[in-house]
């Protein structure tokens, strides 16, 4: 590169070292086991975004059947009813449980959709070197890592109901096929967010150097 700027001198990568993401140890060799914790030390590279996109796409694809197919089948004396995630939210609204309806809607629809958008936005901006305030991107990344796991709520609601409501012919609840797809989608998007290395947000791109973080 040959270009020495104050910003370029300050990262571990520029000094020729790699930080272990698991234990924070500085190492001098990439793609080897960390001498302290044993995790593989990976150098900072945009190639890692391939994994982010692969998990992202699989997560989006699994999210579709997760929402279209029923997640819960209720058998009672009055017959069999199948309900989807959105159907469950609407039923709760009809019963006047607005708070619970909001929890399910946010966890099952709001959070996953927001995650898909934020991960795609971060990955695209890293790939194309869009100049966006890195602090904003960093906060967005931390937020999706923190709230992403909460999308599992609806899966556990179905599991709890299916386990509890088993009273012979009187009434029983079984999970629908949609719940497997939905759980898969949550797991895949968690992997996608975890594979996105936050350090890439701060890495200067070749065609533009972020200066907002220079003191």
């Amino acid at each position: 590169m040959g270009r020495v700027t104050p910003a370029a001198m300050r990262t571990a990568t520029d000094a020729g070292f790699i930080v272990c993401r698991s234990c924070g140890t500085l190492s001098d060799r990439a793609d080897t086991a960390c001498t302290v914790c044993g995790a593989t030390v990976r150098s900072l590279s945009r190639d890692g975004l391939q994994a982010v996109w692969a998990y992202w796409l699989a997560g989006v694809l699994a999210y579709i059947p997760g929402n279209v197919l029923p997640i819960m089948v209720t058998q009672s004396l009055s017959g069999v009813t199948e309900s989807t995630i959105m159907g469950g939210v609407i039923t709760l609204l009809h019963h006047g449980s607005y708070g619970i309806a909001a929890v399910i809607f946010i966890a099952s629809i709001g959070v996953p959709v927001a995650k898909f958008i934020v991960i795609a936005w971060l990955a695209l901006s890293i790939q194309h070197g869009w100049s966006i305030d890195p602090h904003r991107q960093h906060r967005a990344h931390q937020a999706i890592e923190l709230i992403g796991r909460w999308s599992m709520i609806d899966v556990f609601v179905v599991a709890a109901l299916a386990a509890l409501i088993q009273i012979g012919g009187l009434m029983s609840i079984t999970p629908g096929v949609g719940v497997n797809a939905f759980a898969m989608s949550v797991v895949l998007t968690m992997f996608s967010a975890m594979s996105l290395d936050a350090r890439l947000i701060w890495m200067p791109t070749d065609d533009h150097t972020r200066t907002s973080n220079d003191p």
């Binding site: 300050r10 990262t11 571990a12 990568t13 000094a15 070292f17 930080v19 993401r21 698991s22 234990c23 924070g24 140890t25 500085l26 190492s27 001098d28 001498t35 302290v36 914790c37 995790a39 709760l92 019963h95 449980s97 619970i100 929890v103 890195p134 602090h135 960093h138 890592e145 796991r149 909460w150 599992m152 709520i153 609806d154 899966v155 556990f156 609601v157 179905v158 599991a159 709890a160 109901l161 299916a162 386990a163 509890l164 409501i165 088993q166 009273i167 012979g168 009187l170 009434m171 079984t174 999970p175 719940v179 759980a183 968690m190 936050a198 350090r199 947000i201 701060w202 890495m203 973080n213």
Partner: protein, 212 residues
């Protein structure tokens, strides 16, 4: 001791890099209870929590105790038209399995039973070993690494919110009572959260790095 590991140890004593943005800093000296933030991305770079080892040991021990209660005692009981059904958390998973919902049964068992207990046991063993200044640093490093890897996958907290939602959903259909395991599970998520925030990972990694 090889020349390379001596060099790396000296390097790590002198510098610390931000895990979030890769910025390289001179390692700060922290007093007990202090933490240093990265001037570039504002994330916490190093912490030095007060009595981290003792507090983590106590809270993880408490977690393990309530975990045993949570799986051994009845969790919930429902009653409708004279028929009743009482389940423990393990029954809940078994019922799913027996009714042909193998995938959901395995996912639930991993997320609410296996991963939480893995995290608690790993972190407890590690801190008990640190407390007594036990050897086996290499094994301790593995304990901490596994313990922090399973952290986002230990979903006992999310499960409890799911259970509360399901209670609201069927509250009108059947009479539901919660058992001792319900309260134990609630205590578990509180102790685990407190234990996680008491743990000073950086101090432990630094200590292991010096002694390996």
């Amino acid at each position: 001791m090889t020349e390379r590991s001596e060099k790396l140890r000296a390097l790590n004593e002198r510098y610390v890099a931000c895990r979030s943005c890769d910025a390289l800093w001179l390692r700060p000296t922290l007093e007990a209870g202090q933490r240093a933030r990265c001037p570039r991305c504002h994330d916490v770079v190093v912490t030095n929590k007060t009595r981290g080892i003792e507090r983590t040991t106590a809270l993880m021990l408490a977690s393990l105790f309530v975990y045993v209660v949570a799986i051994a005692f009845p969790f919930m009981r429902m009653e409708r038209a004279g028929l009743s059904n009482e389940i423990s958390v393990i029954d809940a998973v078994a019922v799913l399995w027996q009714n042909g919902m193998a995938v959901l049964a395995v996912v639930t068992a991993l997320l609410i039973l296996l991963f939480p207990v893995t995290r608690v046991v790993m972190i407890l063993l590690l801190h008990a070993a640190l407390n007594r200044n036990f050897g086996y640093r290499r094994q301790q490093a593995v304990l901490l690494r596994v313990g922090q890897t399973v952290e986002p996958w230990a979903m006992a907290d999310i499960f409890m919110i799911g259970v509360i939602v399901s209670l609201v959903k069927v509250g009108s259909l059947a009479r539901i009572e919660v058992g001792p395991a319900f309260w134990a599970m609630s205590a578990l998520i509180v102790f685990m959260a407190m234990g996680s925030s008491a743990t000073c990972r950086d101090t432990v990694w630094d200590a292991l790095r010096r002694q390996l």
